[in-house]
Symmetry: C2
Subunit: 265 residues, 2 copies
């Protein structure tokens, strides 16, 4: 049976027009799917209004206790419930979840050698039980990037990583397609030109583009997750613009060398 | 089959020691149960830090757009997920839900004749489907007082009212006990004396106590909900201190006149 795991960035949720189009796309989908959403900029704005100082290391926010509270409130609260209410209004029986709900996603608190990341968690495991219960009942799980350590502590995790881990776990029972929706038409060779989409990206092409500097910064962890997922048995991974959701050949397909040879033959 | 619906105030969640004792009580429960939690003072403190003015009419907060955001963040986000993570750590397979999740609780936006209540909703219906799916799977639903109007708008509802409506709906399939946990040993005739618990309260006794002024202010909507529930078929309703959870005769039992006569005989 087919199942899609669709990661959407938090920023998409802040764009009311785009969110409406996206929700209508979701409402037209027929096979089972899971949504994983990110956080966007709202949590940062909120922390700023509260006077909580922003601490970043290597592009990642350090999550102290106060930042954790804001993050949980914004991601698991406002963003998650806003999205679910919109979907329900369109007849999609969505259920908003964080990693603690149904013990869905457990994470390990990140241990830096000299860096205290605070309440940041790297995904340890995704439990099939809760997901399967909901999918079998025709429910669409909508997962926020808040996880827990299993000992009562909430953690802030990377939504791309959660989407990858959810796709890998569902891959045990379903024919899974993992779709990363973001603000570009796909992985671009020229970031200023939406026509420069790479249709298929293999590990060796990825290396080449990284070395030449065409692929850089925020795309790297995203693509690392994508390649890890295809290596771990996820059937198909794709990066697309949300407006292209449902178009089978849109965006960039992430593919292993051996799959590529099959495509070529 | 028996099922308990347990309403806990938001203030209980802010008391770490009490919350731990409460979660251990929950972990020792054997029959199915549903938790409904309130909001407490955290949302108000938060709104204050953000400089959002507090508007109250008849003891109820008027929920403008900004206040709704804070309320959803605190109730559906921080309080709900903190409670669920604590329960999971004790082996309780909890699932945090708001009214939009699984389309569980729909509410009507309150229409005042001259008052604009903002995003405040009075519960219209509770859907059995989602609750039953979770209870049958051994999951403990943990419900926040955030509901939706079915048209994509989130609303702030009274947690006592949600608990009552959930109990009435479950009453169609289960032998339901509705338990309101609060900071007193029960309904007191003398608010300063924890020994003055009324063991059984009938509608006529309730009238008497109201007229004499012994029962007043915040207890009135709580008890109105309680009496409405026993009238609507909920088997048993009780008001207790959380430390007395599990003790069958603790607190105040809400009872109709005809049940009272059966007890007397």
């Amino acid at each position: 049976m087919k199942c899609k795991v669709i990661k959407i960035g938090g920023a998409l949720i802040e764009d009311a027009g785009l969110l409406n189009r996206l929700c209508r796309k979701f409402a037209s989908m027929t096979s089972p799917f899971v949504i994983v959403h990110g956080g966007g900029t709202f949590a940062g704005q909120f922390a700023e209004r509260l006077g909580i100082p922003r601490k970043m290391i290597d592009g990642r926010r350090v999550t102290d206790r106060e930042t954790l509270e804001v993050t949980v409130m914004v991601y698991a609260g406002w963003i998650n419930k806003t999205l679910v209410a919109r979907l329900q209004a369109l007849g999609v029986n969505a259920c908003g979840l964080s990693g603690c709900d149904l013990n869905l996603v457990q994470a390990d608190r990140r241990e830096g050698q000299s860096i205290d990341w605070g309440y940041v968690g790297d995904v340890r495991l995704v439990r099939m039980g809760g997901l399967e219960l909901l999918l079998q009942a025709g429910v669409v799980p909508v997962i926020s990037p808040i996880t827990h350590d299993g000992k009562g502590v909430l953690l802030n995790s990377n939504a791309d990583g959660i989407a990858a881990a959810v796709a890998e776990t569902l891959g045990m029972c379903y024919d899974v397609e993992l779709i990363y929706c973001f603000d570009k038409k796909g992985v671009l060779t020229d970031v200023g030109d939406e026509g420069s989409v790479i249709p298929c990206l293999t590990p060796s092409l990825y290396e080449k583009y990284k070395q030449s500097g065409m692929i850089h910064s925020g795309m790297i962890p995203k693509l690392d997750n994508a390649f890890k997922s295809v290596s771990n048995g996820v059937q198909a991974v794709r990066l697309i613009h949300p407006d292209d959701l449902g178009q089978p050949d849109a965006g960039t397909r992430i593919i292993l060398e051996k799959q590529w040879m099959r495509v070529e033959q």
